[in-house]
């Protein structure tokens, strides 16, 4: 059960006391990655370097000098973070074969604390998408597709159909990271969140997904999508672990001038027992079209939970919510058009064989390297940035962004501490159903509940709440005030304790359960 352990209470203690060694832990995770290969959660598994890191960690434990809680803990990183010496592809042809010459700041921080980097996880190409289905390495499968809970609820079709066609998506774009954490192949994973890309798959995969406040965690080395909204995301199996990861990653980075310079003090989460001083806001506009009755009911039940425990629960209004998707669409494509301009084949990445001129080489490289989704966004973005359109679309969107951000300011100023909303419109869709709509339509639908937090730069977290009728995870989202992660996580932890979300029952993990895996299964590492 080591693999199911949480960091703080169980695995870290187990490592310290020598009940399990870093190399054993690493080997178990690597073995599980192999046996869950059908999930397609990993693009690159860095077996050799991981084992080396585990060995070095083991030496430190033997000397009684571990670097901290994260020493020896296996983690995974989304493949849009640069990792020195390891291929970083962003699930795109454009970067196939690109070996990063440096570590992203967040990766370096994890390694400096002894974490063991198992590999790079799968995503939608360049993090554009909400299903983790549009990368060149294929879609990621939600581990819950293979859970006892889902299988029990599935109507058995013809024998040949069942395992292959029934599987559900992870959500995205950090689907690989969410699947990796959910299936116990690592204890924590890094994702990224620009419009909900960490929280959405966290909800579908039944794990905790934290989007920190913009400016708290360095983006240096995170291949950018939208510079004014991107943040590194944290995926873990429990809220306490998310706090530990946050503590090790947050803080000013001179290499990222958009990180705030205030000192960040890592914190331990108190065990909240009295919520009577809390004011929870329920934004009425989040009762979005398409929200499933199930989730609506769950949301209501959660509000009652707080009410019955003595908290003040009030309905609030964020009137510009219906426009946030449109606003995001314009700002996102505009920044993407700019950020993707660097991919021209000259200095790194794919390069076309076309030699007639520099321009034709650039154009061919980009045609060959990017998928339709990326190319579509680049073209749209360039359209909105044309001189004749700049004021009408880009500047207009920036004004609407201010209105959206102000909605939140007003609500928080009125005395509300935390907002409670659904994270997704429904539970995870079957892959065959999901791909019937195109990426842009899907993203527009799925991002609706998550992306306003990116617009306003606020911290937000998905907490797995319950299983749906189909036996799949459903999560709820808490949105907090800027830089008030401690309060946000404290409330999230209280809620997590109340709902007691069930552990996934995966047959694959059971197979590996020859006693050693008890560490792997713990809910928290911390």
């Amino acid at each position: 059960a080591a693999l199911k352990d949480g960091l703080r209470s169980q695995v870290s203690a187990a490592l310290k006391e020598g009940r399990v060694t870093p190399t054993e832990l690493c080997q178990q995770c690597l073995a599980l990655i192999k046996s869950t290969k059908f999930l397609n959660a990993y693009i690159t598994v860095a077996e050799e370097s991981a084992l080396k890191q585990a060995e070095e960690s083991e030496e430190r434990y033997k000397r009684g000098q571990p670097l901290g809680i994260l020493d020896g803990i296996p983690i995974a990183v989304k493949d849009n973070f640069n990792t020195a010496g390891i291929e970083t592809t962003c699930a795109s042809h454009m970067l196939k074969g690109y070996i990063s010459p440096y570590n992203a700041t967040v990766v370096q921080k994890l390694l400096d604390q002894g974490a063991v980097l198992l590999g790079k996880t799968n995503l939608d190409e360049f993090a554009m998408g909400s299903g983790s289905t549009d990368g060149v390495f294929g879609p990621v499968r939600n581990p819950w597709s293979y859970s006892k809970q889902y299988k029990e609820k599935s109507v058995p079709k013809s024998h040949s159909e069942d395992k292959e066609s029934n599987w559900v998506i992870t959500g995205g774009s950090s689907g690989g990271s969410a699947a990796a954490v959910s299936s116990f192949t690592c204890f924590a994973a890094l994702g990224s969140d620009t419009g909900g890309s960490t929280r959405n798959p966290a909800a579908h995969c039944g794990v905790v997904g934290l989007k920190p406040t913009y400016g708290l965690i360095s983006r240096h080395g995170l291949i950018p999508l939208v510079n004014s909204m991107d943040v590194p995301g944290i995926l873990t199996r429990c809220v306490d672990d998310a706090a530990v990861l946050l503590g090790s990653l947050a803080g000013h980075d001179p290499k990222d001038s958009t990180t705030i310079q205030d000192d960040f003090k890592p914190f331990e989460l108190p065990n909240l027992t009295d919520v009577s001083k809390l004011s929870i806001g329920i934004p009425k506009e989040y009762r979005a079209p398409g929200l499933s009755c199930e989730i609506l009911a769950l949301w209501s039940k959660a509000a009652d939970l707080f009410k019955n425990a003595g908290a003040k629960v009030v309905e609030v209004s964020l009137p510009h919510t219906p426009y946030s998707i449109v606003c995001y669409h314009v700002l996102c494509t505009a920044e993407v058009a700019s950020n993707m301009a660097r991919f021209d084949g000259l200095e790194y990445g794919h390069r076309s064989d076309k030699k007639e001129s520099t321009e034709s080489m650039y154009a061919a490289t980009r045609r060959e390297g990017f998928n339709d989704v990326v190319r579509g966004r680049i073209l749209s973005g360039n359209y909105f940035l044309l001189k004749q359109n700049y004021e009408k679309y880009f500047v207009k969107a920036q004004k609407v962004r201010r209105l959206i951000a102000n909605d939140f300011v007003k609500v928080f100023r009125s005395g509300v501490d935390i907002l409670l909303t659904p994270t997704t419109l429904s539970d995870a869709a079957p892959y065959t159903e999901f791909i019937q709509e195109d990426n842009r339509t899907r993203s527009a639908q799925d991002d609706i509940l998550t992306q306003a937090a990116n617009m306003a730069g606020l911290p937000a977290i998905n907490v797995p709440t319950a299983l749906s009728e189909r036996g799949l995870p459903v999560g709820l989202q808490f949105i907090g005030r800027s830089f008030q992660e401690k309060q946000l996580l404290t409330v999230a932890k209280w809620f997590e304790k109340q709902v007691q979300f069930p552990m996934i029952q995966l047959e694959e993990v059971k197979k590996h359960d020859h006693g050693v895996s008890q560490h792997q299964k713990a809910a928290s590492f911390s």
């Binding site: 690109y98 070996i99 010459p101 913009y214 400016g215 004014s228 001179p254 001038s257 958009t258 310079q261 510009h320 426009y323 449109v326 606003c327 669409h329 494509t333 021209d344 084949g345 000259l346 200095e347 790194y348 990445g349 390069r351 030699k355 007639e356 001129s357 520099t358 321009e359 034709s360 080489m361 154009a363 980009r366 045609r367 990017f370 339709d372 190319r375 579509g376 680049i378 073209l379 749209s380 360039n382 359209y383 909105f384 044309l386 009408k392 679309y393 500047v395 207009k396 969107a397 920036q398 004004k399 609407v400 962004r401 201010r402 209105l403 951000a405 842009r440 617009m455 306003a456 730069g457």
Partner: protein, 92 residues
């Protein structure tokens, strides 16, 4: 209003990405239509927002001192075509 052929050509030139086929053009049309909803919002007297950190953010600037470099070899490693310490582009 449909996007004119001139604008389409101009976009391909600027983006160095082609529409490939009519589907690509359709996609752009839909994207513009979607974005037009922005005009329903009254933004009179509202300033555009560049960054959510505008209130507390004094852009961090460091001293103009060289702190790292000399990584020519690493930087050239990922380039497909190079000559000595140059990235090579096709002429024209």
């Amino acid at each position: 209003q449909k996007v004119s052929v001139e604008v389409l050509d101009h976009l391909e030139h600027l983006a160095l990405v082609d529409f490939r086929d009519s589907e690509g053009v359709e996609r752009l049309q839909k994207a513009i239509q979607f974005a037009d909803q922005l005009h329903e919002v009254n933004t009179d007297g509202v300033e555009p927002m560049d960054s959510v950190l505008e209130d507390r953010w004094c852009l961090y600037l460091r001293e103009d001192d060289v702190t790292e470099g000399n990584c020519t070899k690493e930087l050239l490693e990922n380039a497909r075509e190079k000559v000595e310490e140059y990235f090579v582009a096709p002429p024209g």
